[in-house]
Symmetry: C2
């Protein structure tokens, strides 16, 4: 997603949430503060570069807060900001929608093609 087409808030939101990781990170951060390495363990398939980039994107979007602690082997904590916390139930709602409409969505394709055979008047 390079650029936005409209300044529509939905598009802006999707620009941040699009992709495989953002919602997953949100999900893991629901549980509370996590460190960089925790998040890597939480999902091992993300490369360390991408995790850093995604976290930064979320941080810049104001959804995630990064806290660097001085001392010892360097320690950085990540947790959700207020807006981030407010976003969580909305994302959960999408998951619920997916489950609730499962059957309904599965029966697509044929609907009521009553009009579909009229050869135009």
């Amino acid at each position: 997603m390079k650029d936005v087409v409209s300044r529509c808030p939905i598009e802006e939101t999707m620009r941040v949430l699009s992709g495989r990781w953002p919602t997953l990170l949100l999900y893991y951060l629901k549980d509370g503060t996590k460190r960089f390495s925790d998040l890597r363990r939480d999902n091992p398939t993300v490369s360390h570069r991408i995790l850093a980039l995604e976290l930064r994107k979320l941080e810049e979007a104001g959804i995630v807060r990064r806290t660097a602690h001085a001392g010892y082997p360097l320690r950085v904590d990540y947790d959700l900001t207020e807006p981030g916390l407010k976003l969580v139930p909305l994302i959960d709602a999408l998951g619920d929608w997916w489950e609730d409409t499962e059957d309904d969505r599965a029966s697509r394709a044929s609907s009521t093609p009553e009009t579909s055979l009229d050869t135009a008047a």
Copy 2:
């Protein structure tokens, strides 16, 4: 977004909605039935190939219904299915969230660095 990491419904949902077009198409289809060329006019920056692919993706996800009319220069109508209609308010909620938290998100970075020195001194 190649593959899913978990079978989490949120991830499944995001797989369908990720990208610039899906939510935009949902938005335009809210108004009712549209033809392929209507959707192209609605937003001229999408290429015909991508529009076709995106519509098919949404159709396969059971969000959009495609109705092909026989005859004449071929005519295809697109509209939202029941699940698609149910999805609309959820997406709107994301847009509202974006607007409502605008100020909050803008003031990220510094939060409550009680436990640490943000920039590491």
